[in-house]
Assembly symmetry: C2
Homo-oligomer: 592 residues x 2
C-alpha cells in the first residue's frame, strides 16, 4: 500500500489493533437457512475503510468473497429512487423503523411496507426498477458503486430461489395490497439475485465511501447515484439499517449503516469515510457479532458519531483591512499614501474550509459589525460554498446596499457567484485591485502622459550632474500590450525605470497557467532585486498597456559616478524595505 | 440587535421571510386536554435561532411565554443520566423508537419503557432524579440550559395534576414492573411540574444551542450537562423526539429534535445551532403544524440535514519544506547555505480548522509519502484536535520512528501533546528553529568566539581604507542576557553590526504578551530598515545571550567616504532582497 516506506500508515496499524482485539470474539452463529451460507468458514474476519478521496485500507480477509444479502437493499432502493422519483417510491414504501424482525411483512396503516430495509420494502423496491431486464440494471448499478463489475454467486442464488417461501409470501402479499404491480415473481427474482451478488469487504468499503461521497465513486470518478437520492438512502439507513436495533445503533455508533445475514456491515460517515466489516457469525437480531463490536469501537475511537461534527465553518473567516491584505499592484507613492489613509474603508474577509450556513452567518456578523464602503469576500481558499451560505451572502449584499455599501466576491465558482448576484472577480488579486481603484476614486495619480526621468521617484533629490549622467546611461524602450520585457531565467543585466503604462509580473504555475505576482505602475523600478541576488530574472515581466521605460545597463552603472550609484542604491533600499514591510505584515496577517 | 447598522443581519431577514411564508398555515388544532392549553391564542408564532457562540436571532412572538410540556423530557433525562450514570438509566429506560403514541405505556420485552421521550420513559426519568426536593434540582438545571431562572406556570401545573389520570396509570404501572422505586406520586409530581415550566421561544433556542455546544451554555458559559450525557440525549432525540414520526423527521429534517403539545419544537445542529419554533396548532401526531413546516424549510434552505457535513478536516493540511516555512531566526550566510541544501529533509505540515480523524488520516499519508528526517506538525492554527486525531498522530510518530525519523509537534494544547507523546514546542517558530538546528547538526557556524568587524559579511570585499574608516566610526557595545538594545518607538539613529551572541526582535501583542519576530545571530545587521523607512524602531531588540556588537551612528556614516557608504548600502540591499524573497515565498505558501 505504501511501498516507499518501511513503516505502515498509522490507520493500518490502528485497524490491525482493532482486528486483533475482536478476533477472539466468537459469539453468535452463522446463518444457515440455506446450505451455502451455513457452509462458510465462521472464522473469516475483515475490516476495510475507504476515504472519499480514494484511499482504501484493509486488514484480515479483505479479499474473501461473500454475498451481499440485505446489504444490497439500500443500493436497489437508490436505483428505484432514480428510476421512479422520490414521490412514487414514497407512495409505495414508507420510511419508519418497523420495530419488527427483518423478514416480517410489516405493512403500515396505508398498506405500504414500513421501510425499504425490511424484506417487504426491499422486494417492493426491486419491483420498481425499470427496464426489460431489471436485474441487469441492478447489477450494472452495483458495479458503479463498487468500482468494478460484480457477479452473482449462482449457488447461493439457486438456494435463495428454492427456499424463499417466506419472501414469496411477502411478494404475493405486496401484490395483493397493490404495493407491487405485475407478476410478483419478477420482483422476487431481482431480489433473490441481488442478495446473491458476490463482493469482498474492500468492495463494500468502496460502496460505502461512494455513499459518503454523495454518490461519486472515489476510485472511478463515476456518479453511481444522484445527490438527492443518496440523502434519502442515508436517512433510511440511519433509522432502519440495523434491523430492529435502530436506537441501540444510533446511541452506540451513530452513523447510517446496513447489515446482511452473510455477516457484512457497512457504515457511512458522510463526506469522509466508508467502512465495511465482514465476519459471518450473527447475533440474535441478525447482525454480525464482530461487525457490531468493531463499529462500536471505531465510533468511539475515531469519534464517528454524528453528534461529533466539525465546527470549522464558524472559525474559518479572517477579517482584515485592505491595507493588511493589499493587491500586488505597485502604486506610485502618492497613490500609496492615499490608499493607506483609506484602506480601512474596505474590509477583506477571507474564508478557509467549507462555507456552510454557520460560517456565512458568522461572516455576515463580522461584515456588519462596523460600516465599510466595500466588503470583499474572498472565497478562493474554500472548496465548497453551499447554497445556504450563498443565500446568506445574497442577504448580506442587500443589507450593505441599504447603506449604499457594496459586497464584492472573489474566487467563487460560477454557481455561487450567480446565486449571490454581486460583482465577482475570479482573481482575488484583481478583486483587491478593483477595490483599491474605487478607494482611489478613479484614475491613478500618474496615468495621463506618464513621467519623465527627472520625475521618477528614484531621482528625487538627485543632483543635476548625476541626473545628466543617468540620462546618458539610460536607453529608452517602448512596448505594446503583451510585449515581454524580461523572461524568467534570463540573466539580469539592467534595471528598468517605468515611466508610462503598466507591466505585469507573473510566473508559470505547475498547472501551466500563469499566476500574477504584481502589477507595476509608472514610478516603480524593476530588475534591481535580480541584479542584487542571484543574477537571474525569476519571473516574466510583460506590458499590459502601451509602456514607456528606461533601461539602465548594470555594466554601465558600475562605471558611473559613485555618488549616482549611492543615490540609486539608497533609493532601491528604500523600495526593498517598504516591500519587505508589506510582505512581513501580510505574513503576520496570514499566520494569525 | 445590531444598533450600528441601518440594515439588518441577513439571517434576520431570512427568518422574517420564513415567518411570513408560514403565517398563513392554520392547519391543526390547539391541544385542549387541559383548559389552560386550550385557551391560548392559536395565532402565536415565533422562530428563534441561537448560535453556539451566543448570537440569538428571533422573529415573531419570541417573548411570549408557554409551557415546556414534552420539550422538558430530554433535559430531565439528561439530569437523570448525570445523577445515576448511563448504566443505571439504560437498565431502567430503553432507547428504541416506540412506533406508538406519546401517551402509550409502551414497555419493551424487558419491561422497560421503550425510550425516555414517551411519557412512560419521561416519568421513569423524573423518578431517577436525586435529592430531597428533586423538582428544585430539575428547575435549577433547566435554568442552566436557558441561561436564566425559570418558573412553573401554577395554573397549568394544577390542571396537569388534576387531570393526569393516564399519566398516573403509567406511573403506577411503572412501579408495578419495577421501573420506578418508591411512591409513584413523587415522580409524577416532578413530571407534572416540569411540563408546566414556562419558557419563551428565545429560551428554547438557547436551551437547544446549549445542547449543540455539548452542554456549555453559550450565553452564560455555564456547563449545563456533561459531554457524554449530551451525546446520549441527542442520540435519543434523533430517533424518538418527534413522537411516532421519527423516520419522516429524519428523512425530511435530519437533526435531533423534540416537540411538545404546547406547540414548541426544538432542533439541534451539533456544534453550530439551536433552533426553536413555537406555534400552538398541532398536527394529528401532536407536533406543531407550523413548527414542522418551518423545520422542513430551514433544513432544506440551510442544509441542516446531518448528511450535509462539512468536509473541511480533509482539505485543511498544507505541506511545505522547512525552506518554504523557515523560522524567523536570521542565520549567518554559511549556515543559511547549509540549511538551503538540507531544508527538504524536514517536512512542515500546517493544519487549519478542526483536526478530526479524516484530517489526521490525510495528514499521515502526506507525512509518509516521502521520507523525511523530521516531520513538524504545526497545530497552532487549529482550535480542536480531537482524541481520534491524536491517536493517529501517535501512530504516525511510531511509523516514523521505525525508519529513525522523528515527529515534532508545535502549537498543540497540553491534552493533545500528552496524548501524542512526542517532542512538543508551544511556539511554532521555536519548533522550526529547533528543526533547523538539528539539520545544521549542532552549533551554528559562528558561535564560538564570535566575529571581528573584518569578518562581518557587510565588510566582505571592503577595501582596507574603508574598513579602517568604518572601524573608526563604530562604537563597541556589550550586552548581557535580557538587556534591551533598542525599544519600539525610539528614533533610529544607528546601524548595529552583530558580532557575538543572539538578539531577539519582538513586538507586544494586543493581549500584552510579546511575539517574537526574529532571532538574529552574529553576522547580521539591524536598524538599517528603520533608518531607511520611517525613522523609528518598530520593534524591541533584546539580547538573549551575552552579546557583542558595533553601533555605527547614521550621522557619522553620512560624513563617511562615499565608497564606504555605497558598499554598506549595497550590502544592506542584498540583505533586504534576500529577506524579501523569503517573505514573498512565505506569502505564496500561506496563500495557496
Amino acid at each position: 500500500m505504501h511501498p516507499s516506506r518501511a513503516g505502515r500508515l498509522p490507520v493500518e496499524d490502528y485497524l490491525d489493533g482493532v482486528h486483533r482485539r475482536f478476533l477472539g470474539l466468537r459469539d453468535g452463529a452463522v446463518a444457515d437457512y440455506i446450505p451455502p451460507l451455513g457452509a462458510v468458514d465462521p472464522e473469516q474476519f475483515a475490516i476495510a475503510v475507504a476515504t472519499t478521496d480514494g484511499q482504501v485500507y484493509g486488514v484480515g480477509d479483505v479479499g474473501n468473497a461473500f454475498t451481499l444479502q440485505s446489504v444490497s437493499k439500500p443500493f436497489t432502493y437508490g436505483l428505484a429512487l432514480e428510476d421512479r422519483g422520490l414521490a412514487e417510491v414514497r407512495a409505495r414504501i414508507g420510511v419508519e423503523p418497523s420495530g419488527d424482525a427483518f423478514n416480517s411483512i410489516s405493512l403500515d396503516a396505508a398498506g405500504r411496507p414500513k421501510n425499504p430495509m425490511i424484506n417487504a420494502g426491499a422486494i417492493a423496491a426491486a419491483g420498481l426498477v425499470e427496464g426489460d431486464d431489471p436485474f441487469a440494471r441492478v447489477l450494472a448499478s452495483y458495479g458503479r458503486w463498487a468500482g468494478r463489475p460484480l457477479e452473482v454467486d449462482e449457488e447461493v442464488y439457486a438456494a435463495e430461489r428454492e427456499t424463499g417461501h417466506r419472501n414469496r409470501a411477502i411478494g404475493h402479499m405486496l401484490r395483493a395490497v397493490g404495493s407491487l404491480d405485475g407478476d410478483p415473481e419478477r420482483a422476487l427474482d431481482v431480489y433473490f439475485r441481488q442478495c446473491s451478488v458476490a463482493v469482498t469487504c474492500s468492495d463494500l468499503a468502496v460502496m460505502a465511501a461512494t455513499l459518503a461521497a454523495r454518490g461519486l465513486n472515489p476510485l472511478t470518478g463515476e456518479q453511481a447515484l444522484g445527490d438527492a437520492s443518496v440523502n434519502q438512502v442515508l436517512s433510511v439507513m440511519t433509522t432502519c439499517g440495523m434491523y430492529d436495533a435502530a436506537g441501540e445503533w444510533l446511541v452506540g455508533v451513530g452513523i447510517p449503516a446496513k447489515s446482511g445475514v452473510s455477516g457484512a456491515v457497512i457504515g457511512v460517515l458522510p463526506g469522509q469515510l466508508g467502512i465495511a466489516v465482514f465476519s459471518p457469525r450473527l447475533d440474535p437480531v441478525g447482525n454480525s457479532t464482530r461487525g457490531v463490536a468493531v463499529f462500536r469501537q471505531l465510533s468511539k475511537d475515531l469519534r464517528l458519531h454524528f453528534v461529533h461534527t466539525p465546527r470549522t465553518a464558524r472559525a474559518a473567516v479572517v477579517g482584515r483591512t485592505l491595507g493588511e491584505s493589499p493587491s500586488t499592484r505597485s502604486r506610485p507613492p502618492a497613490d500609496r499614501d492615499r490608499l493607506d489613509a483609506r484602506a480601512d474603508r474596505c474590509l477583506v474577509l477571507e474564508t478557509t474550509g467549507d462555507v456552510l450556513f454557520a460560517g456565512a452567518e458568522a461572516l455576515s456578523r463580522l461584515a456588519l459589525a462596523e460600516p465599510h464602503r466595500y466588503v470583499l469576500v474572498d472565497l478562493s481558499r474554500s472548496t465548497t460554498v453551499d447554497p445556504a451560505a450563498a443565500r446568506i451572502l445574497a442577504g448580506l449584499a442587500r443589507s450593505l446596499a441599504r447603506t449604499g455599501d457594496e459586497l464584492v466576491l472573489a474566487g467563487a465558482n460560477e454557481v455561487t457567484a450567480t446565486a449571490v448576484g454581486v460583482r465577482h472577480l475570479a482573481s482575488p488579486d484583481a478583486a483587491r485591485e478593483w477595490c483599491e481603484d474605487r478607494l482611489l476614486g478613479g484614475a491613478p495619480a500618474a496615468e495621463a502622459g506618464g513621467l519623465e526621468l527627472a520625475d521618477h521617484p528614484v531621482c528625487a533629490g538627485l543632483d543635476p550632474d548625476d541626473l545628466a549622467a543617468l540620462a546618458a546611461l539610460a536607453r529608452p524602450l517602448e512596448l505594446g500590450p503583451g510585449d515581454v520585457l524580461v523572461e524568467a531565467g534570463e540573466p539580469a543585466l539592467q534595471v528598468f525605470l517605468l515611466l508610462a503604462g503598466d507591466v505585469e509580473v507573473s510566473t508559470a504555475t505547475s498547472g501551466g497557467d500563469r499566476r500574477r505576482l504584481a502589477t507595476l505602475s509608472p514610478g516603480t523600478s524593476l530588475g534591481e532585486a535580480a541584479l542584487t541576488v542571484g543574477g537571474l530574472h525569476t519571473a516574466r515581466v510583460q506590458a499590459t498597456t502601451a509602456v514607456r521605460c528606461l533601461a539602465v545597463p548594470a555594466a554601465a552603472l558600475a562605471q558611473a559616478p559613485v555618488t549616482l550609484r549611492l543615490h540609486l542604491t539608497q533609493a532601491f533600499l528604500v523600495g526593498a524595505h517598504r516591500a519587505l514591510g508589506r510582505a512581513t505584515r501580510e505574513v503576520a496577517a496570514l499566520s494569525r
